[in-house]
């Protein structure tokens, strides 16, 4: 895998990781576009920033908690109808092939 550049194989792999069923045309288009975008973005690597701490939260805050009290949430009727498939009080999903991560 080349830094800054991206090829069709990588795009296909990304599609898989991100659960996107890309058509061959899309793979070709996105490869081109992502390559362009990455080319522009990776200018940031020009900045020598190894010693700079990363920012994960813009406004510094710490220790925000909730008390351990149980409260009734949603009723099944609140979300069952919005579910694509609901059976026996549970969300019905198609057959699973893989093991969990």
């Amino acid at each position: 895998m080349t830094q800054g550049g991206i090829d069709a194989e990588q795009v296909k792999h990304l599609g898989k990781l991100a659960r996107l069923e890309l058509s061959p045309e899309e793979v070709a288009d996105y490869t081109l576009q992502l390559e362009q975008i990455l080319g522009a973005i990776t200018s940031i690597s020009a900045v020598a920033a190894d010693h700079i701490p990363p920012t994960s939260h813009p406004i510094p805050m710490e220790n925000v908690y909730r008390e351990d009290i149980a409260v009734r949430g949603l009723e099944i009727n609140d979300f069952a109808r919005a579910a694509p498939s609901f059976e026996d009080d549970r969300f019905r999903v198609p057959r699973i092939l893989g093991e969990p991560g």
């Binding site: 895998m1 830094q3 991206i6 990588q10 795009v11 990304l14 599609g15 990781l17 991100a18 659960r19 996107l20 069923e21 890309l22 899309e26 996105y30 576009q33 992502l34 362009q36 975008i37 990455l38 522009a40 973005i41 990776t42 200018s43 940031i44 690597s45 020009a46 900045v47 920033a49 190894d50 700079i52 701490p53 990363p54 920012t55 994960s56 939260h57 813009p58 406004i59 805050m61 925000v64 909730r66 949603l74 609140d78 979300f79 919005a82 579910a83 694509p84 498939s85 969300f91 999903v93 198609p94 057959r95 699973i96 092939l97 893989g98």
Partner: protein, 497 residues
């Protein structure tokens, strides 16, 4: 009172409070306006006339009983379709959520309800707030009321257009890289991105969690201040919300005085890439601020040139994770051909069908930037650039009270003009993005029309985190001075629809 739709929210609120007019009348007037013009503007995705009128009636009853004391009670509002509204369709501008009605309200929707503000409906937006033109909506673009062949900006083009076309006196938008401010600039309205954490994110569908913020949109600074006060404040359901009172932005808006203030012009945000007419209006506004008694100096924020790169690594990374939940299993559409496909296949088919091209691009970009082997060079590096940008701001604010720049590099371009060039589209956010990266607050204010095309130009005011009141103080002063020159607000020059 003459045409209710041409009044400010503040004026409407006083009239309602004095019982000169009812919330129902005001709401009906705006619903009629929507019916009259929205086919051409397409600001709204969902309007439920009966429901809004019923709510307005309720508010009138509450007012009659003295149960409501909010300064905006009875005034209607438009809500960006990124906000969860209980029982009301919420699409985020995407086909993947077509028909979804959330079982709960966003915190700020609850606040608006408690304040007696009446929702007119949900506004159009770039899909999942990814875009700068509202052309990436899964439901068609929104038109700019100044020129229906042009974009209103994005991602919150619908909210800005609703306000600019007098369909609603005010609206709620969200801003991740400029999605409130840039549409405000392109439509001649006012929009504010509050300090990160100043407004609850609970119930706002997340795009980039460390950048997103909901904010007020209106036609003048005072209305924006009133709305800011209603929606701002700590929310225990949002761990990143600031546990301090909302700065007194209304008082600041009344105190429209810049005498003795130091204002910094950002060197990196006024040169190449900015339309001549935009810079011309910007420079004129600087002159006005000096005339009003402010001291204006140039400041340098050297790392701003890397802001776009950092943003377009951080946003897609966080978004790729936030959008993973849209998989057709619990809500939204499910794409299943009934041929015994596996869950992996159905998820992939659903997301492929439901997401538009820009969303898919960014999901893949984000997935790539977070991949093992790439994390440090991309996401990691971007977060370090972010620190440098925050330091640039802090450094600048040690010399000045607020910073200013043009909000957007150009005026509204034609629909379709930049659609095939993602990079060109991203450049629209060049002035607004640094603010989100650092978490500061900023306002866009109309400062005139560009001579070459007659389209609105906005000026951006940036203040330090938690100093949101400074935006309103400076904005109000400038707005006042400009209104004197124009004989009214800029928006009154917009073509009649």
């Amino acid at each position: 009172m003459s045409d209710l739709t041409r009044q400010s929210a503040a004026t409407l609120a006083s009239a309602i409070a004095r019982k000169e007019v009812s919330s129902e009348e005001v709401t009906r007037a705006h619903l009629d306006r929507i019916a009259q013009v929205d086919e051409r503007v397409h600001a709204f995705l969902h309007v439920d006339r009966e429901s809004s009128i019923a709510r307005a009636r309720e508010v009138d009853q509450q007012l009659a009983k003295g149960e409501l004391s909010s300064p905006l009670a009875g005034v209607p509002i438009a809500l960006k379709d990124l906000l969860a509204t209980k029982g009301v369709p919420t699409t985020c501008g995407s086909r993947i959520l077509e028909g979804w009605r959330p079982p709960y309200n966003a915190t700020i929707v609850d606040k608006l309800n408690a304040a007696g503000v009446v929702s007119l409906g949900k506004t159009n937006m770039d899909e999942f707030a990814m875009g700068s033109s509202t052309e990436h909506s899964g439901y068609g673009p929104t038109q700019n009321p100044w020129d229906l062949e042009r974009i209103p900006g994005g991602s919150g083009g619908g909210s800005a257009a609703a306000v600019a076309s007098f369909e609603s006196p005010m609206a709620i938008g969200t801003d991740t890289g400029g999605s409130i401010r840039q549409p405000a600039a392109l439509t001649g309205t006012v929009g504010v991105k509050p300090t990160y954490g100043g407004v609850s994110r609970y119930g706002i569908v997340a795009l980039a969690s460390s950048l997103d913020q909901a904010g007020p949109c209106a036609r003048d600074v005072m209305d924006t201040a009133l709305l800011h006060t209603v929606i701002g404040g700590h929310d225990p359901r949002d761990s990143t919300s600031i546990n301090k009172p909302v700065p007194d932005v209304v008082a600041a808006a009344l105190n429209a005085d810049v005498r003795g203030m130091k204002i910094g012009v950002i060197k990196q945000l006024k040169g190449e890439g900015f339309q001549a007419g935009v810079l011309e209006r910007f420079n004129q506004s600087i002159e006005i601020l000096i005339e009003l008694g402010a001291e204006v100096i140039e400041v340098s924020c050297p790392h701003f040139e890397y802001a776009l790169g950092a943003y377009y690594l951080i946003l897609p990374s966080e978004a790729s994770s936030n959008l993973a939940r849209f998989d057709g299993m619990r809500f939204g559409i499910r794409e299943d051909d009934g041929k015994n496909r596996s869950v992996e296949e159905v998820m992939s088919a659903t997301r492929e069908k439901g997401f538009g091209a820009e969303v898919k691009r960014r999901i893949m970009l984000g997935t790539y930037a977070l991949s093992s082997g790439y994390y440090d060079a991309y996401y990691g590096q971007a977060q370090r650039i972010r620190t440098l940008i925050t330091r640039d701001f802090a450094d600048a604010f040690s010399h000045v009270d607020v910073l200013v720049s043009p909000t957007a590099p150009t005026t509204a371009f034609k629909i379709g003009e930049k659609l095939d060039d993602p990079l060109a589209m991203y450049l629209n956010d060049i002035a607004t993005i640094p603010v989100n990266l650092a978490g500061n607050c900023a306002m866009s204010l109309p400062i005139g029309r560009a001579p070459e095309d007659g389209l609105p130009v906005g000026l951006q005011i940036i203040a330090p985190p938690m100093a949101d009141h400074l935006l309103y103080q400076v904005g109000s002063a400038l707005e006042s001075a400009l209104a004197d020159r124009w004989g009214g607000l800029l928006i009154s020059e917009a073509p009649t629809l």
